[in-house]
């Protein structure tokens, strides 16, 4: 059973990108901020 359709990589669909940030613990659809660094 398909629980969630993936991004269609072959088609330039509008939901393909633009949602989020790089890598670990980023957000799938909205997050832009990850771990906040502290100034030394």
């Amino acid at each position: 059973m398909l629980l969630r359709a993936g991004y269609d990589l072959k088609v330039d669909q509008p939901t393909l990108v633009g949602f989020g940030c790089c890598g670990l613990m980023g957000y799938e659809v909205q997050q832009i901020e990850l771990v906040l660094p502290v100034n030394p």
Partner: protein, 422 residues
């Protein structure tokens, strides 16, 4: 055919005799009988014992590949292609570099100068955005409004939002705020402007938070919680970022325990950020993943974020930009004010690119064999560039990804199911 190496497989108590597959390349999620998976793992992809519906799921997930080599080439191809072919734009707009708080850990110290986007710049930025959307035939835009504290200076939106709307593009709008100005009038104003989502930050439980985030001589913990309730009551989804000092995760647990009074928790997503001791961009790759915090948040009724981020980061996309209050343009919000990372600037409605290095992406081929390549892509774009310029540079977050896959991904899928079934 074989199952792609870029797949995560795990069990959930809800589904007996079946396993969940998560495709790390296209982020599809499916449910397959354990017996079918066993056949696949034995290399019997054509076995008649794999039922038709399982075959259909595998096909819809696009998770079967011809062989290991083709698996790698497929991941590499789409990783390089997508940034330049998507028609989804992503803009991060800094309306000001001014703030009404003074958090000791602020990553923008040194660039917060009290300045705000003036009317002429807003007009120029609005004109460029409109032309950019039309000429690239963009179909969807994500607009993140940040600062400083953006609620101190929302006026540029009065110029920019109509220019976006006149293009007819669908737009999702988010705001990152410290939350202290989010009273009911402000929340209604955000709803009227078209915002969908707001992020606020807590720096610990009431006692700890109020030592850090003080406004007009008072703590702000309860003020922010009230703002969160106001947001969800008026239909805005909320992200709560919980900061905690390195190696003091009990502070994060105390914070989540202190959120018991919040209403509408299915509209609230919680995530945790360990404050790092070194000022280094993309510190997510260095951060310790602490699964039990997410487990606690999940069981407290909050949504939790996907542990593998997005298909593509704004800084990698050819259609993603960050615009500062003075019209200077960057690829990543982390680059604002950072030497050598300015892409160009917007003047008279035109973007003049001055630094083409910021437009390139450098794949790290040696990472192709890694299971987490599609979600990590060899680290953040700026780290990849560092490696390209200095190949000996090594920085791998494999262990963190492994923990995220084993401990947080199953919780995330459960969180999605709970939200869907609710």
């Amino acid at each position: 055919m074989i199952l792609s190496r870029y797949s995560s497989i795990f069990e959930l108590d809800e589904f007996k005799g079946q396993k969940v597959i998560y495709n790390l390349l296209n982020h599809s999620i499916g449910l397959i009988r354990t017996a079918s998976l066993n056949e696949l793992e034995r290399g019997n992809s054509t076995s008649k014992s794999i039922p038709k519906d399982d075959r259909k799921t595998l096909s819809e997930m696009d998770v079967l590949v011809e062989n290991e080599e083709d698996d790698s080439e497929k991941a590499l191809y789409y990783t390089r292609k997508i940034p330049f072919t998507s028609r989804a734009g992503y803009l991060t707009l800094l309306t000001c570099l001014d703030c009404n708080l003074n958090c000791f850990y602020c990553s923008q110290k040194g660039i917060i100068d009290g300045k705000a986007m003036d009317a002429a710049t807003a007009e120029s930025v609005g004109a460029w955005i409109s032309q950019w959307i039309r000429s690239n035939q963009l179909q969807h835009l994500t607009l993140s409004v940040i600062g400083g504290e953006p609620l101190l200076h929302l006026e540029p939106l009065n110029e920019i939002l109509p220019r976006i709307r006149e293009t007819g593009i669908t737009c999702r709008m988010m705001l990152i705020s410290n939350g202290v100005l989010l009273d009911e009038a402000m929340v209604l104003s955000l709803v009227a402007k078209g915002f969908d989502r707001v992020q606020v930050t807590l720096d610990g439980d009431e006692e700890t938070h109020d030592q850090v985030k003080r406004y007009q001589g008072n703590g702000t913990f309860h003020r922010i919680l009230k703002a969160v309730d106001l947001c969800t009551e008026h239909g805005l989804e909320v992200d709560i970022r919980i900061n905690y000092p390195k190696s003091k995760k009990e502070q994060a647990l105390n914070t989540i325990r202190a959120l018991n009074s919040l209403k509408n928790r299915s509209m609230i997503q919680v995530y945790f950020a360990e404050l790092q001791s070194n000022n280094f961009f993309c510190t997510n790759e260095l951060a310790t993943v602490v699964p039990d915090l997410y487990e606690y948040a999940f069981h407290a009724g909050f949504s939790i974020p996907g542990p593998f981020g997005a298909l593509l980061c704004q800084a990698e996309s050819d259609y993603g930009f960050t615009i500062g209050p003075n019209g200077k343009v960057y690829k990543c919000y982390n680059s604002v004010g950072r030497y050598g990372e300015q892409l160009g600037s917007i003047k008279d409605g035109q973007l003049k690119v001055e630094n083409h290095a910021m437009l390139n992406n450098h794949p790290v081929y040696e990472c192709l064999q890694c299971k987490y390549f599609p979600v990590c892509r060899g680290g953040c774009k700026f780290l990849r560039r560092a490696r390209y310029l200095a190949p000996a540079t090594k920085l791998c977050a494999y262990e963190n990804y492994k923990v995220a896959e084993k401990k947080i991904l199953p919780l995330y899928v459960q969180s999605l199911l709970r939200k869907t079934l609710r």
